[in-house]
């Protein structure tokens, strides 16, 4: 039998509270008797009668809290002591008064007090405030998904340095997409869970790859977004590297995909070096830096377009032979009939292609593909082989426009959220009677507009009719980035587009190749 006694001087506790705790302690198996009471003469007399009056309790005063525990052995005694500590350290009411209105916490700090097990902060406040909130989150030990854009580059570097120091994941700024352990964050899709892990600096590209993987029957373990500037030399690829290293150690991930956007060559080289040193198969998509991956790098596999990334990842997980990337020759063959029917009615002055994207990565992919088709083409934003537009609002000749770029979204809602922006743009575009084909992405999933097909199918139908009346034919090539599990009902969306006369392809890559072929007939 063991006795534990403690006197907490000048610690007043309400007697009801003490009796409640006493009742709880008495239910612990092995506890023979316990008493928690203020050291008043009456209480001490009662303790005496119960055989619980120890020396220190005897000396206690009426303002001192006396705790006496009698147990069969040390085990129950220490359980009881733990319960007591827990009880007095309890937080009290932190939840909002439950009435008609709930008070929400006003800051991360108080949110954390209500939900101490929180492990991730999702931050989407306006740009000027984003760094402050993200810093607070990191300092509180939370990983961060930072959706906000317009965050200064220097702030991004500091955030990522802080995250690195703390071992936390800093996804973003300007991180539109992530899937953590099957939970879709930001703009993302209902994707099958599986053994392919992805690190991506490009949100929409990562969405498409996830959807393709899912469609092909495999799944995604983690899809970690890093934000579009992670691989700039000012940011050093910090999140990219941390994500990659984590996936290398993750038991649920067998194959890793690395997808970047504009990447500083030194940083890319460093990443490729780390990737080489690993034991897992890694698919690398660094557009413009393909030369970094040589053919003799056993576990590294270069991907040349978005569909190729997904197909390669799937093959590696299955142990199948690696797929060749689809090319214009393959599409030319596979979709011969479609190409013919889309190109046998246009009028001689219809020469050009207009690609109007909501996802930046699709614009990047089209940029590379157009370079293989056309001597000259324009793009906004302007890079690679593209020539620069005088104004992003006025397309010229063969043209790619990323309508999700800051230039357009600064004043308006993102086109993934509101199809009307593209409807307006298309309406303006067809004033140029030289257009032969439009190439459009339609991104489904969480965060995106719930029925893009409604507005877009109509403008497609109307535009085709107008051009037909002018004696020509307008072709629309579309791809749907999404899965059957997405809230938009992919099948219905596909039907709406097909009913409008658009051609719906199975991937972004196919769409760009097909559109390029149609434009260059």
């Amino acid at each position: 039998m063991k006795i534990y006694a403690d006197v907490k001087k000048n610690t007043y506790q309400d007697s009801m509270k003490l009796m409640r705790l006493q009742a709880t302690l008495n239910t612990i198996p092995g506890i023979i008797a316990c008493s928690l009471a203020m050291g008043t003469p009456q209480n001490k007399a009662q303790l005496g009668e119960a055989g619980l009056l120890t020396q220190e309790v005897e000396q206690a005063g009426p303002n001192d809290l006396c705790i006496v525990l009698k147990a069969e052995s040390a085990g129950p005694l220490s359980s009881a002591r733990e319960r007591i500590t827990e009880y007095f350290n309890r937080k009290g009411i932190i939840e909002a008064y439950s009435g008609e209105e709930q008070i929400l916490p006003r800051s991360i700090g108080s949110a954390l007090r209500r939900m101490p097990e929180a492990n991730l902060a999702v931050v989407s406040v306006p740009g000027p405030y984003a760094a402050l909130e993200a810093t607070k989150a990191l300092n509180s030990g939370l990983h961060v998904f930072l959706f906000s854009d317009n965050v200064p580059l220097q702030d991004e570097f500091e955030l990522k340095a802080l995250a690195e120091q703390k071992g936390l994941l800093m996804m973003g700024p300007d991180c539109g997409t992530a899937i953590i352990s099957g939970i879709p964050l930001g703009f993302s899709n209902a994707v099958r869970r599986g053994r392919i892990g992805i690190v991506g600096a490009s949100g929409s590209g990562m969405q498409e790859v996830c959807c393709l993987i899912s469609k092909m029957g495999e799944g995604v373990s983690q899809a970690i977004g890093t934000g579009g500037r992670d691989l700039y030399k000012e940011v050093h690829g910090k999140t990219f590297v941390m994500a990659m290293e984590s996936l290398l150690d993750d038991e649920e991930t067998d194959v890793i995909i690395l997808m970047s956007k504009h990447c500083d060559e030194k940083i890319a080289t460093r990443i490729v070096k780390k990737a080489r040193a690993s034991k897992k198969h890694i698919v690398v998509y660094f557009p413009g830096l393909e030369s970094l991956i040589e053919n003799n790098m056993e576990n590294l596999h270069k991907a040349l377009n978005l569909e190729h990334i997904a197909a390669t990842g799937v093959a590696l997980v299955r142990g199948d032979t690696l797929p060749r990337p689809i090319t214009k020759e393959i599409i030319s063959e596979e979709m011969r009939e479609v190409i013919i029917s889309e190109t046998n009615r246009f009028s001689p002055r219809q020469k050009y292609i207009r690609a109007l994207f909501t996802g930046g990565t699709f614009a990047d992919e089209a940029n590379v593909i157009f370079a293989s088709f056309f001597d000259r083409f324009y793009a906004y934003p302007c890079y690679g082989q593209a020539s620069c537009l005088d104004s992003p609002t006025k397309s010229k000749e063969h043209c790619i426009v990323d309508l999700g770029d800051d230039f357009f979204t600064r004043a308006k809602v993102h086109p993934m959220l509101d199809p009307m922006l593209r409807v307006e743009r298309i309406t303006k575009e067809i004033e140029d009677k030289q257009i032969r084909v439009f190439l459009l992405d339609v991104v489904l999933g969480y965060g995106a507009h719930l029925d893009p097909g409604a507005a877009l199918a109509k403008i497609i139908l109307d535009s085709k009719r107008i051009v037909e009346q002018q004696g020509g034919y307008l072709s629309f090539i579309i791809f749907l980035c999404g899965t059957e599990g997405d809230p938009q009902n992919r099948t219905n969306q596909k039907r709406k587009f097909e009913n409008s006369g658009a051609i719906v392809t199975d991937s972004s890559t196919r769409a760009a190749l097909l559109a390029g072929l149609i434009a260059s007939q």
């Binding site: 937080k91 009290g92 009411i93 006003r106 108080s110």
Partner: protein
Amino acid sequence: MDTEKANQEALKKILDAHPVWKDVKIAGEVIPGMKKNRIFHTGPPIEWERMCIPMKASITGAMAFEGFCSNMQEAEELIKKGEVELDINQNHSSIGPMAGTISASMAVCEVENTTFGNKAYSGPINTGRKPQIYCGMFTKEAVDIQKWIADIWAPATSKALQIIGGIDARVLVGKSILMGDEQHNRNQAATALFLTEIIRGYVQADLPKDTFLEILNFMNDNIAMFWATPHLAVCKSMLDPAHGIENSTVVSKMSNNGVQFGIMVSGLKGNWFTAPSPPVEGLYFPGFKKEDALVDLGGSRIKETAGFGGMCMASSPAMLLQVPGKPKDAIETTLKMYEITVGENPAYQIPYLDFRGIPTGIDVRRVVETNITPLICTAINHKKENVGYIGVGIVNAPLECFEKALMAM
């Protein structure tokens, strides 16, 4: 030391405080820097010319108490000539309610924070609805009450306190919060608990029966507010050790001289950060209305600085009637106060919030971030002299003070 650590240290100092009301003394004998011709008033510092009328009137009252003069013009002359010196309480370990004027012959409560050994002094003693020298009054009645307090009440209470070994204010206030005081506008439970303890002292002090009765009646008549004065020193003694911690953004003083609301921050020793005094939203005694009111005034904002009063309104069901809106709105104001404080003080628990400790350690950064400013419960003073306080209400500390303080960090 970085700010987080500094703030945790400041919080710990406040939580570890153990205030004990040791004695009642005469101001000139104990308050550092007090002299026969000095009057201490509520800060932040302000020149005579800019003071509000009630402040000037309270200073006049203190001077009348000392026998220097009998009206405001005479008071002004003496001050201009330099024969009477003015300073703020906060520079001298002392603290007073409203205009807070303390002079050398007045009775003050002496409270010691036994954990750290520091002392604080508060006065004048609260007189309830009877004429209040500290509320802009210099009438004969206002002066006479303080004289009685200094001559009769003080020595008796001093003796009684010494006999019983002082009053453990931490335990007493802890109990009173559980009983429905918020410890600024409502001190009923605390006063009652004080009386139950001090009576043994008075009895053993062998006072003449009349004196004993007079003293008891004085406090019983003022059961609502008597404890308010000792509590000022209690709060100050709790906060003083937390002042002067480098890099700490915890507010260590809040005070209002009737013209300017000012705060001091632990890590910015010596600097007051001020803003114009805001109007008080409240309820008026019969015969008085909003147009009669002075803007906010009071040294008692030290109580909210320590987590009492408007910071813990949820502990006081009766106080909820002072807040416009439904009772649940008043409770929500307390939940909001937790957003701007570093921690909680488990020695003072709010039953309605499942015995959560009062929000403690106002953090300047959090105030500025959330736009939530400390809520203060206070009396409303008449804007002219010789009327006293005319109502009670609530007011928020001005955001500007906290923004200025933040920028100075």
